[in-house]
């Protein structure tokens, strides 16, 4: 929680004024029992009607001033709480975005989404309550004690014993329940995960008639959650009764002591009433505090979880910020454009290496085909170029510099990558394509003919022009979330267009033509080749036909390079390649 307090920084004024006005209101409330005592002792005993009315007026005045103070306090508290939540949400969102693939794999999507949504909401209401009530309650508790001292020191000692006892109970329950609420939240996470999973897998679940089993599994998780919630609930339900017992027992003792003191002529009847009133004020405030603590406890648990995410550092060290890859600096050595130098890589927590001793070079403008079996490390290899992951051993160089030296944004701006799973976003075709255009190059708002032209060009290269033209609105055609209103092949071509439109120096197609038919695939490759002389292209594929005309083919087998060279060379010398090739083309079938 402490870590999150910085987000209140911009609301210093509000966070101070809110509680302050609340305290002002509370102090007025503390005067009320004194006024009543005066009414009893002076008004009633002296049969003075005028004094009673005057004191009544004082009560009304206190009420009016209290109202003004409290409304003011509510406003500042609400302002600070929403402002706090807004900037926390902003920071958390941008922090999550800065995490590297390794942390994302570890954290999981569902958890990140809960952090962003329900956790922050809980913290927001926690902050709001704390600002409004958290200071007020202890203030009244101690204020009542001090007032009691002004009436009678000996009777006030009952307060001195009662209050610490109460605090121990209240905070003890709080300390025990925080970890319990954490467990509840984890249970909620599991329920959320299952819900999401069922939405994404709805077709498979239905195809296998698994609705009932899924429902059963969900019901079980849900029941677990409920059981946990009820357990925690039973525990925190102790709070009110226990405080009730303590305070009222103290009241009885207070009346008894008061009676003895009145008998001895030290106190008056009205003063005993005032003391009892103070004690019941304490009860009311403690009940409030107890309820508050439940909410705040939840908020604390959520805050901890959020802080946990904020504490997560991206495992990719940043490159030098002042270095721009496009400033025409001379390369450090005369080597090839892209070099992999004895690169090893293993995923975090994985036993075996995913890549072992990868060593090759690529000249600028070349087309590189990467082929190999499932799980042979093709995707992992190309993911090292934009630094989604860092090599565990060895070095990856682009344009003579280690990828680690580049500022991450600059490195990725040079690269257009199309991933295996073609993801599109809710928005128009234009908005989706604009993703590919490096920040600063595009129109922030609206459209421009130049930009449109660039997009159409990219769509044409990606073989997507035809279907986009047919869609209602063309570039303004609205794509649903996940691209659900496009077919798989259309999605892939849109994703390719998005990579092409940025005019990257390096284009990576990671098995991204799998949903395209051969004719489209071939046309696509031809168009890409013709688009730019300087563009270096990586094509990852399972199809020999897709890569056989590449300048260089890398054959991967179980994380190692089994062969590299041109199609003809490999066909002669590389056994793995031969096997792949002949599994797809019968001997002699080639035209």
């Amino acid at each position: 929680m402490r870590k999150l307090l910085v987000y209140l920084k911009d609301y210093k004024k509000e966070s101070v004024l809110g509680p302050l006005f609340k305290l002002l209101e509370a102090s007025f409330e503390l005067f009320v029992p004194l006024v009543i005592a005066r009414i009893v002792d002076t008004g009633i005993s002296g049969k003075d009607y005028g004094f009673v009315w005057k004191m009544g007026g004082v009560l009304l005045l206190l009420a009016a001033v209290g109202l003004v103070c409290s409304v003011t306090a509510q406003y500042f508290a609400a302002k600070a709480a929403t402002g706090f939540a807004t900037s926390l949400r902003h920071s958390l969102f941008s922090h999550i975005q800065s995490l590297s693939y390794t942390e994302m794999d570890k954290l999981g999507t569902a958890a990140m989404i809960t952090r962003m949504t329900s956790d922050i909401n809980q913290v927001q209401s926690g902050v709001n309550l704390v600002l409004r009530l958290f200071l007020r309650s202890p203030f009244i508790v101690f204020g009542a004690m001090i007032m009691a001292f002004t009436i009678d020191v000996k009777a006030a000692f009952i307060f001195v014993v009662t209050i610490p006892l109460l605090s121990i109970v209240v905070f003890g329950i709080m300390l025990i329940s925080i970890p319990l609420y954490k467990k509840v939240q984890a249970g909620l996470d599991r329920v959320l995960g299952r819900t999401r999973e069922n939405l994404t897998g709805v077709r498979v679940i239905r195809a296998f008639n698994r609705e009932d089993e899924e429902l059963e599994a969900f019901a079980e998780e849900n029941q677990n959650l409920t059981r946990m919630q009820m357990f925690v609930g039973r525990f925190s339900a102790c709070m009110n009764p226990v405080t009730y017992i303590i305070v009222n027992a103290a009241t009885v003792v207070l009346i008894w002591t008061g009676a003895v003191r009145v008998d001895n002529g030290i106190l008056t009847q009205g003063e005993v009433i005032a003391l009892v009133n103070y004690m019941s004020q304490i009860l009311v405030e403690l009940v409030k505090l107890a309820n508050l603590i439940i909410t705040v406890t939840k908020a604390f648990a959520c805050a901890d979880r959020i802080a946990g995410v904020l504490d997560m550092e991206s495992s990719l060290p940043r490159g030098e910020a002042d270095f721009s890859p496009r400033d025409g600096e001379k390369r450090q050595d005369g080597g090839a454009y892209i070099q992999f130098k004895h690169v090893d890589f293993s995923y975090q927590d994985a036993g075996a290496d995913a890549l072992t001793d990868i060593d090759f070079t690529v000249e600028k403008g070349q087309t590189v085909g990467i082929i190999g079996g499932t799980g042979s490390g093709k995707t992992t290899l190309v993911h090292l170029l934009p630094r989604f992951y860092d090599a565990s051993k060895g070095e990856v160089l682009v344009d003579g510099r280690s990828v680690r030296e580049y500022p991450l944004a600059a490195l990725r701006a040079m690269i257009g990558i199309v991933m295996q799973k073609s993801v599109l976003f809710h928005g128009t075709v234009r908005e989706n394509l604009r993703w590919g255009i490096v920040d600063g190059e595009s129109e922030p708002q609206g459209t421009s003919p130049a930009e449109d032209e660039r997009m159409w060009e990219a769509l044409e290269i990606a073989q997507a022009k035809e279907f986009v033209e047919k869609k209602e609105g063309g570039l303004a055609f609205e794509i649903e979330q996940g691209g659900k209103n496009l077919s798989g092949g259309q999605r892939q071509r849109m994703a390719i267009a998005r990579a092409v439109v940025r005019r990257p120096e390096i284009l990576i197609l990671d098995d991204s033509a799998s949903a395209l038919d051969f004719a489209t695939d071939a046309a696509l490759r031809r168009a890409i080749r013709n688009a730019s002389e300087d563009m270096t292209v990586f094509i990852v594929s399972q199809r020999a036909a897709s890569i056989m005309y590449a300048d260089k083919i890398l054959v991967l087998d179980d994380g190692r390079i089994a062969g590299q060279g041109t199609h003809e060379e490999l066909l002669k010398s590389c056994e793995v390649y031969q096997e792949i090739y002949y599994s797809q083309f019968e001997r002699g079938e080639q035209v």
Partner: protein, 598 residues
């Protein structure tokens, strides 16, 4: 809107009624708690009346019936009983609340299983998830608060009235006349804020959808360096959320101070009137007698504490009402989902096909996702038992749509589909889908072990059968290499498996199920051809005597098919086997030859 709110309330009550016995106990306990709580100030008042002045304190009961000593003992018993009743009541309320929301959550989830795919395809996952998680959560908070405070509140009001009447009619009247003011205030604020809460809820939903989309696809966002642009969109919604949250929170939080103000006025009134009546003292004449007679100081202190207790529930109730307001807004979003039109009902007496002979007939089938935009029109196809049907065609030609119709993920607009001579509309969906095994291009694994994932179709499968299926799908070797073998837990998000490995697992699922009909939609698109070649043999064996529909781009897969359907724009343009189509020199021949082009 008002009508909608009432409707939602009724549905909430319907859900609660399942736990009416706990509810009855809770109400009884609440009554007990309140009665005891109210009795305590009377005891206090009596005790105070025992304390008159120096030398005039009654400890043993010589002045009135009970002395301080007896009263103190009584008070101790009352305190303990109150605490116990209060605790039990809270436990009951927890019980009800958490069970109700468990039911609601389960119903919502059950609904997901029954919603037409059209709804699921057309809504963002984030929105649906936010309803089931965040809204239900907020609803629970409101419900719990409602229970613990609404009951005791109402009972406290009634109880206090009774006790007060027994002490003094005039002061009671004063309290009764003035307190409704606070209700008016509360109601006024509640109606004004309902829409604000609704807007907040909606904006939150919008934000959740964006979060879900962007964080769910974080990797792509980063690959394109779009962090700032996405953050910009996020901030725009975030800013709107801040504004409408501030409004909703501030205006709803006005309830408390305003009602408290009314209460303080009541308190002052009671003090003035009570003091005047007390001064009137022994001479209860005229006006004072009319007001219910004189009061003692002890009674005045008791009345003051009642005035506090009487008005507090009004405060709380109004607080609860705003909270309930919020909860109802959430509940209505949940019920909206629960009451969403489910897929068309199953036939009352579904036709049961004991043995699928494998014949499939499409008779004048027309279908479109969007009314008016025809996709498949007047489509006819006759597939005989055991035939292998390959569907090829340019992307977007309707191949996947055809599968949606065969599996009844979507219903045809017109025309009929027969399986083994039975109209599929007359069968239950489960009965129909039992006949099919399906592997899609988009793999999906549920969170669970590899074994569970393979045994999805047949939970009773033995260890050996699961392994056999995995071996047939050539998944066994990589599974064995995983840390926990078949017990390794995998999930959809998890990147522990490659796309191709996931696909192998999906194939193993079907290999285990051995259904009479197969649908393979790009089933091997992520698998390398060496492995694919090996699987093909297993597939071929499996397809023996089974009708299969294969969507594939690799022509090597298609060549062997008995019927090749070449689709374009939702219609079959060519039909026949490989040789025949090649010799026709049409679209297919073109497609086939193009794979060798540079």
């Amino acid at each position: 809107m008002r009508e909608g709110k009432k409707g939602t309330l009724k549905k909430v009550l319907d859900h609660i009624s399942r736990y009416r016995w706990i509810l009855v106990i809770s109400i009884l306990l609440a009554a007990l708690t309140v009665a005891l709580t109210l009795y305590f100030p009377i005891l206090c008042g009596r005790a105070i009346d025992c304390i008159i002045g120096p030398g005039e304190v009654d400890f043993t009961g010589w002045m009135v019936n009970e002395g301080l000593y007896a009263l103190a003992k009584k008070m101790a018993v009352v305190i303990l009983l109150t605490a116990l009743a209060q605790w039990l009541m809270n436990v009951c309320n927890n019980q009800i609340t958490y069970q109700v929301i468990r039911d609601v959550r389960e119903e919502a989830f059950e609904k997901i299983q029954k919603l037409p795919l059209k709804y699921i395809d057309g809504h963002s996952y984030g929105d649906i998830v936010s309803r089931i998680i965040a809204d239900v959560d907020q609803f629970a908070d409101g419900l719990l608060m409602g229970f613990t405070q609404l009951f005791t509140g109402v009972i406290t009001i009634l109880g206090t009235l009774g006790f007060m009447l027994s002490i003094n009619v005039g002061i009671t009247l004063l309290v009764v006349v003035m307190t409704p003011l606070s209700l008016f205030v509360a109601k006024f604020i509640a109606t004004r804020t309902h829409d604000m809460f609704l807007l907040q809820s909606k904006t939150r939903g919008e934000q959740t959808a964006l979060i879900d989309e962007m964080i769910g696809n974080q990797k792509v966002v980063q690959a394109y360096g779009q962090e700032n642009r996405v953050l910009g969109r996020f901030d725009e919604i975030n800013g709107r959320l801040e504004k409408c949250s501030l409004r909703a929170i501030f205006f709803s939080s006005l309830t408390n101070p305003c009602t408290r103000f009314v209460n303080n006025m009541v308190y002052a009134g009671v003090a003035i009137l009570g003091a005047c009546l007390a001064i009137g003292g022994g001479h209860a004449t005229g006006f004072i007698a009319f007001l219910g007679g004189a009061v003692t100081v002890g009674e005045l202190s008791c009345l003051l504490s009642y005035a506090n207790q009487y008005t507090k529930p009004f405060n709380e109730i109004s607080g609860v009402i705003t909270e309930l307001q919020n909860a109802l807004a959430c509940a209505s979003r949940i019920f909206e989902l629960i009451e969403e039109e489910p897929q068309s009902p199953e036939p009352e007496h579904p036709a049961v096909v004991e043995h699928f002979d494998g014949s499939v007939t499409l008779d004048h089938v027309s279908f479109s996702y969007v009314p008016g935009q025809h996709l498949i029109e007047d489509f006819n196809l006759r597939v005989k038992k055991g035939e292998r049907v390959a569907i090829v065609g340019p992307t977007g030609c309707g191949k996947t749509t055809l599968i949606n119709l065969l599996m009844r993920f979507y219903d045809v607009n017109s025309g009929r589909i027969f399986v083994s001579g039975t109209d599929i509309m007359e069968m239950s969906r489960a009965g129909l889908r039992d006949g099919y095994g399906m592997v899609l291009q988009e793999t999906w694994l549920k969170t669970g072990t590899i074994r569970e994932n393979i045994a999805m179709a047949r939970e009773d499968a033995t260890e050996e059968e699961v392994m056999e299926a995995a071996k047939a799908a050539h998944a066994h070797s990589f599974i064995k290499r995983l840390p926990q073998g078949y017990d390794t837990v995998v999930s959809e998000d998890g990147d522990s498996l490659s796309q191709g490995q996931k696909q192998l697992l999906c194939i193993a699922r079907v290999m285990l199920a051995l259904p009479p009909m197969l649908i393979l939609d790009e089933a091997t698109s992520s698998i390398d051809t060496r492995t694919e070649l090996k699987i093909q043999n297993a597939f071929a064996k499996m397809m023996q005597g089974r009708t299969s529909f294969i969507v594939a781009h690799r022509l090597s897969t298609i060549k062997e098919a008995d019927i090749i359907l070449v689709m374009k724009d939702g219609n079959i343009i060519e039909q026949g086997d490989h040789r025949k189509l090649l010799s026709q020199g049409g679209f297919y021949a073109n497609l086939y030859n193009s794979q060798f082009a540079k």
